[in-house]
């Protein structure tokens, strides 16, 4: 699914060269849930930006879903981001002027779906996160947890194969953090590969696999840690369940 070989990234300014990643190697298989930890400044974010095609890299090879990513044009990489990758940020990064439906619709717009298809997908995605009833609300009218769920819906709307989450629970209290985490696990269960950067060991432990980045390199590599995690909700929340119920749980 994702394969990085000897990736390095150097930031240059007039005075200094900073090696954000050096000879970075990582293989992630389809359907995995990978947690990435590491001290701040270790290169976690750089890794995520490169993995998400938001930044180029200085050296090495990167294959995503069999496609060679090095030297892709901006249009191509935008298309890949749009179709294959979903992003979830610590700060939610919802567009404040757009209501929930419009926020979720954004990636679909860029994909060029027609109005009907967009509507269907927005509806579906918001149902998945249990916020279909609040479609017309503005982000500012929601709690942090709800906002993050909208962000997840936005990431899901394009039905990506691959979800990148950067401290998705960093701005949430523990209760909301748990809910978001559960949601991610459900999504993973349904087949989406997830890479999550976090500095919370508690959360990291819930992933199938943990990697640690130190000084721009993969340092620790744990496969199938434990392997016997319990999954509290065995299925995805779907439209068949009452959204209003979900609302209450979330708020």
């Amino acid at each position: 699914m994702l394969s990085m070989k000897n990736i390095s990234k150097v930031f240059k300014t007039d005075l200094v060269e900073t090696h954000a990643l050096r000879e970075f190697n990582l293989e992630v298989n389809e359907g995995e849930f990978v947690a990435v930890t590491g001290p701040s400044g270790s290169g976690k974010t750089t890794f995520l930006n490169i993995a998400g095609l938001l930044e180029g890299f200085t050296q090495g090879d990167y294959f995503l879903d069999g496609v060679n990513i090095s030297n892709l044009s901006d249009n191509k990489s935008a298309a890949i981001r749009n179709e294959k990758i979903g992003f979830i940020f610590q700060g939610f990064n919802l567009i404040p002027d757009l209501n929930l439906a419009e926020n979720v619709e954004v990636p679909l717009r860029y994909r060029g779906f027609n109005a009907k298809e967009r509507k269907r997908r927005v509806q579906h995605a918001l149902e998945q996160v249990g916020l279909a009833a609040r479609m017309k609300h503005l982000p500012s009218q929601l709690s942090g947890g709800q906002q993050q769920r909208v962000a997840i819906a936005r990431a899901l709307a394009g039905e990506p194969r691959f979800l990148l989450a950067d401290e998705p629970t960093g701005n949430l209290d523990s209760m909301m953090a748990r809910q978001v985490m559960e949601l991610l696990e459900e999504i993973n269960k349904a087949g989406t590969t997830i890479i999550m950067v976090t500095h919370d060991p508690e959360l990291a432990r819930r992933a199938q696999r943990n990697i640690q980045i130190v000084d721009g390199q993969v340092c620790d590599f744990t496969m199938y840690q434990g392997g016997e995690r319990t999954i509290e909700k065995p299925h995805l929340v779907t439209g068949s369940q009452e959204p209003s119920n979900q609302d209450k749980v979330a708020s």
């Binding site: 249009n75 179709e83 992003f87 990064n93 954004v106």
Partner: protein
């Protein structure tokens, strides 16, 4: 996608109403000023001959003596006007000059009115494509065998005959009876290119009489008269034989061969006149100018006008730079949102387009508002300065031109800010703010 961008643009404009208003105002004022000056300029520089412009030529002759005028004069002498008519080359040709009459009718109660008139040949009407309401021009024969016939304008026909078909009726010009042979349909080229000597934006004459009548009727020249030497001009015969310039001459030439042939004919004419002791300059020459060149030669467009257009173009640039700054500020403030859009899969092209649509929308609003300013300022100017209506009417082309200039200008101003915003690395703005 365009409508999505339009929707986003509209939201963005609404979100920062003050800033947006400032930008729309800036561009609209720039457009308003530019369109105002451009309109006056364009109206002054319009070529009223249209597609016939390149077939109609004004003739100028270097008939002045040594050490007098240093350039070709706009007019020619009567004797040259009379002689040039003998050329077989032009398709149509006519000499002319301006005079005027006290106009009376059979009705003794009618108070005489003073009207400008043009003394010319039959070809005048064909040459300048003058449309007729009733009747037509006098016969070709009249040009050599004078007859008291007259063509009047629709306006005078309304004034004198209440708009009825007056062909065949009698009109008294300076007490002499003339038979009306034609009534022209409203015809008022602006600039009045066939004679720019006497106010380039004056109205066309309302009366046309045969040139062949001039020696008998002794029509006075009401236009400019230019002399380069002192000579007696007490009698009309002296005036006709003088070297004073008070006639104009136009020819119609259909193709380059004709033009060449006519130029040759003129050269021969000058040689022949030299033998008679006229055209004293050794390199005396003739020159013909088509309508476009003619308007240029006569500087029909005032210099002031050009300065104004130039300064207002600079003004527009200031407005654009102003807008560029504001746009840059506005767009960069939105960088985080754009980061998200980029991460979600918007390409640089799409972000760029989104912003260009927004800028274009601002430009369009500015253009429409600018058109309003232009209309307002033109009406104000025309009310205050009694400018000729021809100059202050907002031309139809301006309705298209104003928004187009506004949009293009805005897009130009928007390129840099839009490029800045679409080329910033999205990841910078994605970390928690």
């Amino acid at each position: 996608m365009f409508f999505y961008y339009l929707d986003l643009a509209w939201r963005s404009i609404k979100k920062t109403p003050f800033l947006s208003l400032l930008m729309v105002l800036a561009i609209s004022i720039g457009i308003g000023i530019t369109i105002t000056t451009l309109n006056i300029y364009q109206m002054a520089s319009i070529n009223p001959a249209g597609e016939r412009s390149s077939k109609l030529f004004e003739v100028r002759l270097w008939s002045q003596g040594i050490d007098t005028w240093s350039r070709l004069n706009q007019q020619i002498t009567y004797q040259d006007g009379f002689n040039l008519r003998k050329s077989p080359v032009p398709v149509r040709q006519t000499p002319m000059f301006m005079t005027g009459f006290a106009v009376q009718t059979d009705d003794p109660e009618f108070t005489p009115v003073l009207e400008n008139a043009r003394v010319t040949d039959r070809d005048f009407f064909g040459l300048f494509s003058v449309p007729f309401l009733y009747g037509g021009a006098w016969d070709k024969q009249v040009d050599s065998e004078p007859a008291y016939q007259v063509v009047i304008s629709e306006e005078l026909n309304k004034q004198v005959f209440a708009g009825e078909n007056s062909v065949g009726k009698t009109l008294y010009l300076n007490r002499k009876p003339y038979q009306i042979v034609g009534v022209t349909k409203t015809w008022n080229p602006s600039p009045k290119y066939y004679d720019v000597n006497n106010g380039a934006f004056n109205d066309a004459e309302k009366i046309f009489v045969p040139y062949s009548l001039a020696p008998t009727e002794e029509y006075q020249s009401w236009g400019n008269n230019q002399s380069w030497r002192n000579e007696p001009m007490d009698t009309y015969a002296q005036r006709l034989a003088s070297e004073a310039h008070w006639n104009q001459y136009w020819v119609e030439l259909d193709n380059p061969e004709q033009i060449r042939a006519y130029e040759e004919w003129l050269a021969n004419y000058i040689e022949q006149q030299k033998l008679l002791g006229r055209f004293e300059m050794p390199d005396a020459k003739a020159e013909i100018a088509d309508v476009a060149q003619w308007l240029k030669v006569n500087k029909v467009v005032p210099e002031d006008n050009k300065i104004l257009v130039g300064l207002s173009a600079l003004f527009l640039i200031v407005c654009l730079v102003n807008m560029l700054g504001l746009l840059l500020a506005k767009f960069l403030k939105r960088a985080p949102e754009i980061g998200v859009r980029r991460a979600i899969g918007a390409s640089q092209t799409q972000i760029f387009s989104q912003h260009m649509v927004e800028v274009g929308l601002i430009g369009f609003c500015g253009g429409v508002l600018g058109l309003l300013w232009a209309w307002g300022s033109l009406s104000l100017l025309s009310a205050h300065f009694e400018l000729e209506d021809a100059l202050t009417q907002l031309g139809y082309s301006m309705w298209v031109l104003a928004p187009s200039i506004a949009i293009i200008a805005a897009l130009l101003a928007g390129i840099y800010p839009a490029w800045r915003i679409c080329s910033t690395n999205p990841s910078v703005h994605l970390k928690s703010q």
